[in-house]
């Protein structure tokens, strides 16, 4: 975790939990993804890739808030994983974030699904 507080800054309001569903490593994201917390998500994807786990699902269903920095991380993660022969699935049945993906056209670029592929 990033620290609180010698400078009075709050703890990042982001929680990541890892699990596996079928061939996918799943990062479930709670809290808020913004320019302060997004590096933590970026690092989690980078870590999985470094371990050779190239099929990754990022589950945004429980995510409270996501801004454009979070979208940038999704784009970067997709590029990194597909360049290495893997894939990124974005799981989202959260209307607020679905709207954001729709507004930016990223619902057409990213592989957005309602659930992690189980096969």
């Amino acid at each position: 975790m990033r620290g609180s507080s010698s400078d009075g800054a709050p703890e990042p309001e982001l929680g990541l939990s890892l699990s596996a569903v079928g061939a996918y490593s799943v990062i479930s994201v709670t809290g808020e993804i913004d320019m302060y917390t997004a590096p933590k998500l970026r690092e989690a994807v980078r870590q999985l890739a470094a371990e050779g786990r190239m099929l990754v699902a990022i589950d945004l269903t429980p995510t409270e808030f996501c801004d454009s920095t979070g979208l940038g991380v999704l784009i970067g993660a997709r590029r990194r994983l597909t360049d290495a022969g893997g894939a990124l699935v974005v799981v989202c049945s959260n209307p607020r974030i679905s709207k954001l993906l729709d507004l930016t056209g990223l619902d057409k670029v990213l592989d957005v699904r309602e659930a992690v592929p189980s096969e």
Binding site: D7, A9, P10, E13, E32, D34, M35, Y36, A38, P39, R42, R46, F65, D67, S68, T69, L71, G72, V73, I75, G76, R80, R96, L100, L103, T104, G105
Partner: protein, 169 residues
């Protein structure tokens, strides 16, 4: 007070603050935005939009200051008159030559330090995405600047109960 055109209400209100351009404070800014909007009477269904939009504009401002390597404060002003108006002002002046030099790596892979490359690329992407999000999200959006002396101001407004319905900003 910058609310002379808001003659509808007896006492136009302004809330103004500024923050050091660091990622840690963007959350505070967007939460204040939602709170002030709520107090102003913006309907509940629009508060998420206000929070998202002000957060995006502040993120963009922080990225612009970072890009220009300046640590001037990002300025925010909310005014409550006929509409709820939010203005986010950065101080990153137009330095086109530098900016283009900085952006080139996005298209070409670039020469950033390897560990920072992804972050730099995503930052630049994010700055572009902020405007796409704002454009899609906010009906009344005006972005002015930058020029050689001033940075940019993102102005946005939302209706208030009892105010005019059209965006006359």
């Amino acid at each position: 007070m910058n609310a002379s055109k808001h003659e509808h209400r007896a006492e136009p209100v302004t809330v103004r603050f500024a923050f050091t351009p660091a990622a840690a404070y963007v959350r505070a800014a967007r939460l204040v935005a939602a709170d002030v909007a709520s107090h102003a009477g913006v309907v509940t269904g629009l508060l998420d939009e206000v929070r998202q939009a002000v957060g995006e504009a502040c993120t963009r401002a922080v990225l612009r200051h970072r890009d220009s390597q300046i640590d001037d404060l990002v300025r925010i002003e909310f005014s409550i008159g006929d509409r709820f108006v939010a203005k986010i002002t950065d101080n990153a002046r137009d330095m086109r030559a530098r900016s283009e030099g900085r952006r080139a790596p996005v298209a070409h892979g670039g020469d950033a330090r390897p560990n920072d490359h992804d972050a730099l690329e995503e930052d630049t992407l994010s700055e572009e995405i902020t405007l796409i999000v704002l454009g899609g999200l906010v009906e009344d959006l005006v972005v002015t600047g930058p020029d050689s002396e001033n940075g940019t101001t993102v102005s946005m407004s939302w209706p208030l109960p009892g105010g005019p319905q059209s965006a006359d900003h």
